[in-house]
């Protein structure tokens, strides 16, 4: 593992260049450019506000629905975008993979990096909403770096598996958008974690995104520390997944150019 990290460090410039390339390409010849990074969570938020605070009232523990939804949609969009782009990263660049050597995980990692930049841009809206709803900047905001790192670790684990499996079985590319859609409903985004019945909770929390999203909401809006059990579980699963994903990726990487 340490050896892998050392190699990634050696190729850090490539990781940065490739991330920039991803961003440039994504927004080249699009009029709105980086605004798309904001529009995606914002549109979903508006939809959710109409459906779940006008048509159907979802309990939000007294939090205004727009910021309730956006504080969860922001990290969720990061997850969804990063996974969506990293799944195809190896296959799209196969002309490179079969010709030049470099650590192949650079490709999914750059997709994650680009999604992280989108995440940063979309955060501006969150700050605006916080000011608008006069939500104080709690000291618990200091948790944010920890949460973001944890989420990135989890994303990296999923992305490594998804990208390499997609190289072997193109089915993965179709499976992932479907899975992400279902996954969103299994994560406390439109509803609070507290509305999950107690008997279901142990299973529910096996979804690392559940503990993570809940933690984001707690530290940003409620000024509470992350739930130790829920977040602890998320972080542990994330780390295990990354180690396993990395090991599998590195093993499968050897035969990648021969099968891609």
């Amino acid at each position: 593992m340490i050896q892998y990290l050392r190699e990634i460090y050696k190729f850090r410039e490539l990781l940065i260049s490739w991330t920039i390339r991803e961003l440039r390409l994504r927004y080249k010849q699009s009029m709105l450019g980086g605004l798309w990074a904001i529009l995606q969570p914002l549109t979903l938020m508006v939809l959710f506000v109409i459906i779940f605070s006008v048509f159907v009232r979802v309990p939000t523990e007294g939090i205004p629905y727009p910021i309730f939804a956006y504080s969860a949609l922001l990290p969720w969009t990061y997850f969804a975008t990063a996974i969506t782009f990293s799944v195809t990263s190896l296959v799209t660049n196969m002309n490179l993979v079969t010709k030049i050597y470099f650590p192949r995980e650079i490709l999914p990692f750059a997709s994650i990096g680009a999604a992280l930049v989108d995440f940063a841009i979309a955060s501006i809206v969150l700050v605006g909403l916080m000011l608008f709803y006069r939500i104080p900047f709690h000291i618990t905001l200091l948790w944010l770096p920890v949460l973001i790192v944890t989420e990135t670790v989890f994303i990296a684990g999923v992305a490594l598996f998804a990208a390499i499996l997609n190289a072997f079985y193109r089915d993965v590319r179709f499976l992932i958008p479907l899975a992400i859609q279902a996954w969103m409903y299994a994560t406390p985004i439109i509803y609070p974690l507290s509305s999950v019945p107690d008997w279901l909770r142990p299973f529910y929390l096996l979804n690392p995104m559940a503990g993570l999203i809940d933690a984001f909401r707690r530290v940003i809006i409620q000024g509470l520390n992350p739930d130790p059990v829920a977040f602890g579980l998320s972080a542990s699963i994330a780390i295990i997944l990354l180690v396993a994903g990395y090991a599998y990726f590195k093993r499968a990487e050897r035969i990648l150019p021969d099968v891609i």
Binding site: L25, V97, I100, Y101, F102, Y169, D171, P257, D258
Partner: protein
């Protein structure tokens, strides 16, 4: 650097083998499942395994500052060696040691993205090849100057011509300060002037102590660059030695068996309207030094000799020469009357020598068809075709017509070897024109 380090070869390859599974059951889950199921049903029976040893038990070493050329027909395993050395793919068995920083020229510009500008791609490609941003910035001007693309550097490379693509790709790769350079057939493209520049760059890197492995179908380039050579066929080393030895072994192999098309086909020589007055005895393909050659390089010139026997004087004979590829495509046609070449005066026995500057032919087998025609270019007096010869050159892809060229004639002369029994001693040596 300790002296021990210097004694160490830069590249050491031992008993290297690479097995490829030809049966591609990978791709989608459905394919894999049905494949597994098929094999499972056939339980006990031999599982379907189509394999190919791309390389088998290959060993060699390259020392510091040495250039090794790898020769062989297509599919011999040349590129596989480079892919293994550059860690793109992994060996099935055997070991590879590379002591030094590797620069690989495998498919130049593979890392380019069409939407990005030349400048952006230079940075990106440089970092793929392992350079830091700072290093690239330092060398940026040199890279651009070498490529000669100053005016186009801020243009998206999708607007580049393929020649410009290669220029930029080579320029970046050649400035990565490699200690080991792998060059794969990349110099077959681009214009002659830039190609020459590339060869010079490779040679100067070699003089600075860079070890080089070079793959090319251009035997001339091979000789110019390499010290040592390996002739590879079907994944195995057939010959290893100096580059000249390796090339000789390769040419020897090319000459054997049916590898040269139709070599057994009897020459067909017909004397036409002139009865037996004028005969075409044979057609010989020689290199420009006059040595008969069955293998030519695409950049070589050729001397096509039409041997004749004239029972009387033929003061004005026209000729038509066609270079025909093994698939029947006429790659070049030379008609003396329409090219404005003077007709030949033939007496006794001798040959018409037509020297071409550069063959410009792609990789493949060819033969020459020739006709001797009367002074009006209306009647064929004699015709025939040569034995096949092979050209080593770039593989031409795609459309069938590619490969046609306009011959660049260096000169035509008539050499009289035997005077007719009568007189005319003064014409010994014949006449010639130089163009």
């Amino acid at each position: 650097m300790s002296s021990e380090n210097q004694a160490l070869p830069t590249i050491r390859v031992q008993n290297l083998s690479k097995l490829y599974y030809l049966h591609s059951h990978q791709g989608s889950l459905r394919d894999t499942l049905s494949y597994r199921l098929k094999n499972w049903r056939r339980k006990g029976g031999a599982t379907e395994k189509k394999t190919l040893w791309a390389l088998k038990d290959v060993s060699f070493e390259v020392n510091k500052g040495e250039a090794l050329g790898i020769l062989g027909p297509n599919g011999a395993g040349k590129t596989t060696i480079l892919k293994l050395l550059s860690r793109v793919t992994f060996p099935t068995s055997g070991t590879i040691e590379v002591n030094g920083r590797l620069g690989a020229l495998l498919e130049l510009g593979a890392g380019f993205h069409p939407e990005l500008t030349g400048r952006e791609n230079t940075y990106l490609y440089g970092s793929i090849l392992g350079m830091s941003r700072q290093q690239i910035s330092q060398k940026f001007d040199d890279i651009v100057a070498f490529s000669g693309l100053e005016r186009f550097i801020d243009m998206p490379v999708k607007r580049y011509s393929s020649g410009m693509y290669v220029r930029l790709g080579f320029s970046v790769a050649a400035h990565t300060d490699p200690e080991v350079l792998l060059v794969d057939e990349v110099l077959a493209v681009g214009d002659a002037e830039f190609r020459q520049k590339c060869i010079q760059r490779i040679k100067s890197l070699q003089e600075q102590g860079v070890s080089i492995i070079f793959i090319s179908h251009n035997l001339f380039q091979m000789r110019a660059v390499c010290d040592r050579g390996i002739f590879l066929n079907q994944g195995q080393i057939q010959a290893q030695g100096t580059i000249d030895e390796a090339i000789a072994a390769y040419e020897q192999w090319l000459r054997q068996g049916n590898r040269i098309l139709d070599s057994k086909k009897p020459y067909e020589f017909i004397s036409g309207q002139g009865g037996t007055d004028l005969q075409l005895l044979g057609i010989e393909v020689c290199n420009l030094d006059g040595q008969p050659s069955e293998v030519l390089d695409y950049s070589d010139g050729a001397d096509i000799r039409l041997h004749y026997y004239a029972q009387r004087d033929f003061p004005q004979v026209n000729y038509v020469v066609r270079i025909v590829r093994s698939d029947g495509l006429v790659c070049a046609m030379l008609r003396s009357s329409s090219l404005g070449l003077p007709s030949c005066s033939l007496q006794g026995q001798g040959y018409i020598s037509i020297r071409l500057n550069q063959l410009q032919l792609g990789d493949g087998d060819y033969l020459i068809e020739a006709r001797l025609r009367d002074s009006e270019d209306a009647v064929t007096l004699a015709k025939g075709s040569s034995a096949a010869f092979r050209v080593c050159g770039p593989r031409l892809a795609g459309d069938r017509e590619s490969g046609v060229f306009i011959p660049n004639i260096a000169g035509v002369s008539v050499v009289n070897q035997l005077q007719p029994a009568a007189d005319h001693a003064s014409t010994q040596g014949g006449h010639s024109i130089e163009l």
